[in-house]
Amino acid sequence: MDQHAVGKTPLNERIATIVNYILLASLSIIILLPLVNILALSFNDGKDASLGGIAFWPRIFSVSNYIEVFKNPAVINGLEVTLFRTIVGTAVSVLLTAMAAFALKNRNLPGVGIASMFIVFTMLFNGGIIPFFMVLKMFHLNNTIWVYIIPTLYSAWNLILVRTFFQSIDPSMEESAKIDGAHDFQVLFRIYFPLSMPVLSVICLFNGVMHWNDWFSGAFYVTDEKLRPLQTVLQQMLTAAEAMRKNLSMNAMMSASSTVTSESMKMAMVIISIVPIASIYPFIQKYFVQGIMVGSVKG
């Protein structure tokens, strides 16, 4: 179709195509530039970087920033907390969400309509952060690792996404399984689960990214430093001086031989916090489109 059209394409359309390529290429560059800048800074000798002038390539290559960061117990601890909450939180949440969505897909079941309204309304209005915090206090969740996992088990948006996908699955399979004596759990895990991999991967990704990137609960709901996730450690290092002081051995940094500075370490921290997500998402990319598309169809 395009081949034979080329010759006839008017000049203004050809120019538009070229402009289009140029614009998209520059968009990619604009997105990548800050990343490359931070990457270069993180691999540059800290003292040298403080002289300024580093753009997209390290002037004096060094990995000592990363070595210093990994010597820091708060970073290791933060990494452990983040991994725990990401893995456990995501797994439990996806399971529970699938089960609830499985029940919610039966519109004719008594009470399901009301339950759906009950859930959807929470997307429109909420009590705000302070009463929420008081609820955490009421259930003694603050200052425990569960404060990351339990309050994020369900999200109305994910529930709707999965429910809509389930509704698109041919119900005759469920019916025939039931005639064979299967109960609901078996139907869910043997029939719906395998068929719903696209949408389940998408909510896995959503949950995983949310857990990995959440700095807020760690900053406001937790005071025990042993429970601080990586992003909160990062946020406090970036914004709060005192936290940085506590987390770094100032003496090691101040010593004459050290080439690491607090700034160069921060850059390394930023890169460390990005790498896992940035290396995983391209592989799940093909599922996004399918999964997200389902969510946009009205449920």
């Binding site: 439990v92 529970l96 089960m99 603050n142 759990f185 005071t223 406090q236 001086a241 005192e242 607090s262």
Partner: protein, 574 residues
């Protein structure tokens, strides 16, 4: 398979409920402590208190880094346990904001046996929170237990405490004789000026630059002097230790915040925002001084003399920069003993004798220092044991342990009665100072023990270690006494602390007062003075709407009745 999936799903379905219930029933600690020591001593016999593990929390913004790695099994803590039966474990989260942490801990009831918070004086922002908690019965009345102590008993003597501590923090009239907070770091009776450490909080200048330009830092008196000096420094093209060109003026040594010592000629209402002009109480924004200081900072910024990030730089970066000599002038730093290493590397000199707005070149200091408070939550059992423990740490025997370690092992007493560190400790101090805390848990002990302080009398030196390392501390004393400044001492109820007496005005006025620093920064970075004036005018309107006039009237009444009842100008750096 069928059974397994069934069971698995069922378990998961109930998990939420289970965990919630379980965590809701978290156990209560504080079992009654046994009151007989291993060697048979009973409570009160020869210093034994009880076999008890005390947990505490500090809300001191990152100072937890100075706690020993193991707070129970270090030699000093073991020695103290032998004697008293008690161990003390402080938790610290190193959070960015001690006040936020304190508030959250109080609101969630997340309180261990004893807590410690910053409270330099009664005008600190922690005060209203602590007061509210005390009024709502969150803390134990310590008064009955003070009677049975040896050192802390001094607090009951009206002459022992500074006025601010006595009237505003500990023995408040509205507490009906109850005492909820113990204010720490109170000097002992009969201390003189020779027993006083001057921290020289204020502006400092790099010594080599002052010398190269042949400038006597004590001769800098006016803002013009400062500006001209800054221009000269800029023209001098100085470099830092890494060879990078310097910026003339940097942030506070601990990072970005507005510091009034930068425009000391205009520091009306230093530390309280209020002061008296022509007999009338005014807020600094209602005087010319506010605009003058903005004008000065804008001038510095336009001339490229002040680091643009001075007002928001984080503390670590700032400290690094001062270690590297990257700034010629610091608007605010001091000589806390731990900064000696920095001064050895890059020497700075105090330049704190500029005129204040009153035209005095004296340095204002608190009459008697107090620094932090501790309190015992109402939920703690046997609070008297903790008071006794604190009393032991504050005794000379206790102080010697956390200041100098174990006798013979860590220090020896020479024939002049001076405490001298052994070679073992000196080698730690010189080679890995960050490990000192594991041998001598100074900060750990100071939390409950540093009060009734007279180091000269007790240990024969003003600063611990000064007699052990005389060469090193020569620099310290040189800096401390540099330029022989005059001192003025303040004491009493600050203008800021009266705010909690008028809750209706406080509610509307406090947020506006709190935002003054932000307003100043906006004005500093405004395009020109016209815009800056507008920002200030807006702020004045806000003050007025929030009831600043009523508050000024309130202060005016107090002031007219007795001028000494309100302290307007204090040493706080804003």
């Amino acid at each position: 398979m069928k059974k397994i999936t069934h069971r698995l799903s069922f378990t998961l379905a109930l998990m939420l409920i289970m965990v919630t219930i379980l965590s809701a029933c978290s156990s209560d600690t504080n079992d009654a402590a046994s009151t007989v020591a291993a060697d048979g001593r009973k409570s009160g016999e020869n210093g034994f208190i009880a076999n008890r593990d005390v947990t505490g929390r500090i809300f001191l913004e990152g100072d937890g880094a100075q706690l020993p790695d193991d707070q129970v099994n270090n030699p000093v803590a073991q020695k103290i346990k032998e004697k008293t039966g008690m161990t003390m474990n402080w938790q610290s989260s190193g959070a960015a904001d001690g006040l936020q942490e304190l508030t959250v801990a109080l609101a969630t009831g997340d309180l261990p046996d004893v807590i410690e918070a910053y409270l330099d004086h009664g005008g600190r922002p922690e005060m209203p929170v602590l007061l509210k908690a005390a009024r709502e019965g969150m803390f134990t009345d310590l008064r009955p237990y003070l009677e049975n102590t040896k050192v802390l008993k001094n607090y009951l003597d009206p002459d022992f405490l500074p006025r601010d501590t006595r009237e505003n923090i500990m023995f408040r009239p509205d507490f009906d004789g109850k005492v909820y907070f113990i204010h720490m770091n109170i000097p002992a009776k009969n201390t003189t000026d020779a027993d006083r450490i001057h921290y020289r909080g204020g502006m400092w200048i790099r010594a080599d630059i002052a010398k190269a330009l042949n400038v006597d830092p004590t001769s800098i008196k006016t803002q013009d002097d400062l500006f001209n000096l800054a221009m000269k420094i800029k023209a001098g093209n100085f470099k830092d230790n890494n060879g990078k060109p310097i910026t003339v003026i940097g942030p506070r040594k601990w990072g970005g915040q507005v510091v009034s010592s930068l425009f000391k000629n205009y520091d009306f209402g230093n530390g309280t925002q209020f002061d008296v002009q022509d007999g009338k109480v005014k807020h600094v924004a209602e005087t010319d001084y506010a605009l003058k200081s903005i004008d000065f900072v804008q001038k510095l910024l336009k001339a490229g003399l002040l680091d643009k990030e001075a007002f928001n730089m984080d503390g670590v970066r700032a400290e690094e920069a001062y270690n590297n000599g990257s700034y010629a002038i610091s608007p605010y730093m001091n000589i806390a003993p731990d900064s000696l290493t920095m001064f050895e590397k890059t020497k700075y000199l105090p330049m704190d004798q500029m005129y204040n707005y009153k035209g005095e070149d004296a340095i204002y200091e608190k009459a008697k220092s107090g620094s932090q408070v501790w309190a015992i939550p109402a939920t703690t059992k046997n609070p008297e044991q903790i008071v006794q423990f604190a009393d032991y740490l504050a005794s000379k025997e206790g102080k010697a342990l956390w200041n100098y370690g174990i006798e013979g092992e860590d220090y020896k007493i020479n024939d002049k009665g001076q405490y001298i560190f052994t070679d073992k400790v000196l080698s730690i101090l010189n080679n890995s100072p960050q490990d000192e805390r594991n041998t001598i848990p100074y900060f750990w002990g100071s939390l409950l023990g540093k009060t009734d302080v007279n180091n000269n009398k007790d240990f024969g030196e003003l600063i611990r270690g000064a007699n052990s390392q005389p060469d090193r501390y020569k620099l310290y004393f040189e800096l401390m006494n540099y330029g022989n400044p005059k001192y003025k001492y303040w004491d009493g109820y600050t203008a800021a602390s009266y705010l909690s007496e008028v809750p209706d005005i406080e509610a509307s006025l406090k947020p506006v007062l709190d935002s003054y620093k932000d307003v100043l920064v906006q004005a500093f970075f405004a395009k020109d003075m016209t815009e800056a004036t507008k920002i200030l005018d807006d702020y004045r309107a806000q003050l007025k709407a929030a009831g600043v006039e009523q508050y000024e009237q309130y202060l005016q009444q107090k002031y007219d009745k007795d001028p000494s009842s309100v302290v307007f100008y204090i040493d706080a750096f804003f």
